[in-house]
């Protein structure tokens, strides 16, 4: 029940956003500050999700070099930063993570 309520609410929110201008026309105005703020939403939200999971995977801070979450995340960041290839970064970092977790 909870999951379906979550989904229906997500749908309502997303449809409203997408229909905003296309359906309701230019009676809506997009203030400049909001326009600029939107540029930073993906970086902010994704970092807010990634950093605690990388640095504190078990809930407590773990910045040892033996923390596979931390090392894997850094590898993913580095590969994506260098190459711009998302999928490559995921695969390479996953291999590193897996090696640290199951081989070491």
């Amino acid at each position: 029940m909870h999951e379906w309520l979550a989904i229906l609410g997500m749908m309502a929110v997303t449809v409203a956003i997408r229909a905003s201008f296309l359906v309701f026309g230019q009676r809506l105005a997009f203030p400049d500050w909001l326009n600029r703020a939107l540029h930073y939403v993906p970086a902010a939200v994704l970092s807010a999700l990634v950093v605690p999971m990388a640095l504190a995977p078990g809930g407590t801070l773990d910045i040892r070099p033996g923390n596979p979450w931390l090392v894997g995340t850094l590898v993913s960041l580095a590969v994506a930063f260098k190459t711009g290839k998302t999928l490559l970064a995921i695969v390479v970092s996953f291999v590193v993570y897996g090696a640290m977790r199951w081989l070491l």
Binding site: E3, A6, T14, F21, G25, Y40, A43, L61
Partner: protein
């Protein structure tokens, strides 16, 4: 009639690279969602009804962490707000189309379809644009549903796949998406501020720490953008 068909085929064809790009994420999403405890029906339902990849990933991690509904909805709003920009950008082309076109095209508006449609309209004009746009939308939609289903079947047939580190795959995905954006200093500042806030505030009830971190991050990005020595410094 055949011109409409040509525009439709053109829209499908131009969207093919986007389909290939989205496919693995559909699989990862489906697998992760069932691994996080969502039912198969709800996982497919989310792809069917919400149809917004990044917000779906985030929602799954929020639902898995027991976040409250308003937090899930608010996060979806923040993450998907960029679609309002697309909606506004494409409005001049769609202004004269009937609502029977504009509603469904709005429902299916994704990053990928926006990129394809906006490029076509800008470079080759918007003639028969509704057919072109519809084709791109349907291709993306069918593709996303199909690969979500593949991911669900994969996740169901190999139970414990999530314990095999697929929860890490989500973090790796987010990190890979965010990394190229960090080349610009305000975005880097936004990421650091949001990450640090999330780390310090972790464990707040209902995942409110995520909302707090997002707000702090966006504010940091906007402040850095205005910092002197950057850009035209707002003649301040």
């Amino acid at each position: 009639m055949s011109e409409a068909r040509n525009a439709f085929i053109e829209g499908m064809r131009d969207t093919i690279p986007m389909l290939v790009g989205a496919a693995p994420f559909g699989v990862i999403f489906g697998t992760l969602a069932v691994g996080a405890g969502l039912s198969s029906a709800a996982t497919l339902g989310m792809s069917l009804l919400v149809f917004a990849g990044s917000s779906q990933f985030i929602a799954v991690s929020l639902i898995g962490a027991g976040a409250a509904l308003p937090v899930i909805w608010l996060t979806t709003f923040v993450v998907n707000l960029r679609h309002a920009l697309y909606s506004a950008t494409l409005l001049p082309f769609a202004r004269d189309w009937s609502l029977r076109w504009r509603w469904p095209l709005a429902f299916w508006l994704t990053d990928e379809t926006f990129a394809v449609v906006e490029h076509r309209f800008r470079s080759r004009g918007s003639e028969l644009g509704e057919c072109y746009w519809l084709a791109s939308s349907l291709a993306m939609y069918g593709n996303w549903l199909f690969w979500t289903l593949v991911g669900v079947l994969l996740g169901k047939s190999i139970p414990g796949l999530a314990n095999l580190g697929l929860d890490f795959a989500m973090v790796a995905t987010f990190a890979a998406i965010v990394a190229p954006q960090l080349k610009k200093r305000p975005a880097l500042g936004a990421a650091c501020a949001a990450g640090l806030t999330a780390l310090l505030a972790r464990g707040m009830p209902y995942k409110l720490d995520l909302m707090l971190a997002a707000v702090v991050g966006v504010a940091a990005g906007m402040l850095l953008e205005r910092a002197p020595g950057r850009k035209e410094a707002d003649h301040a």
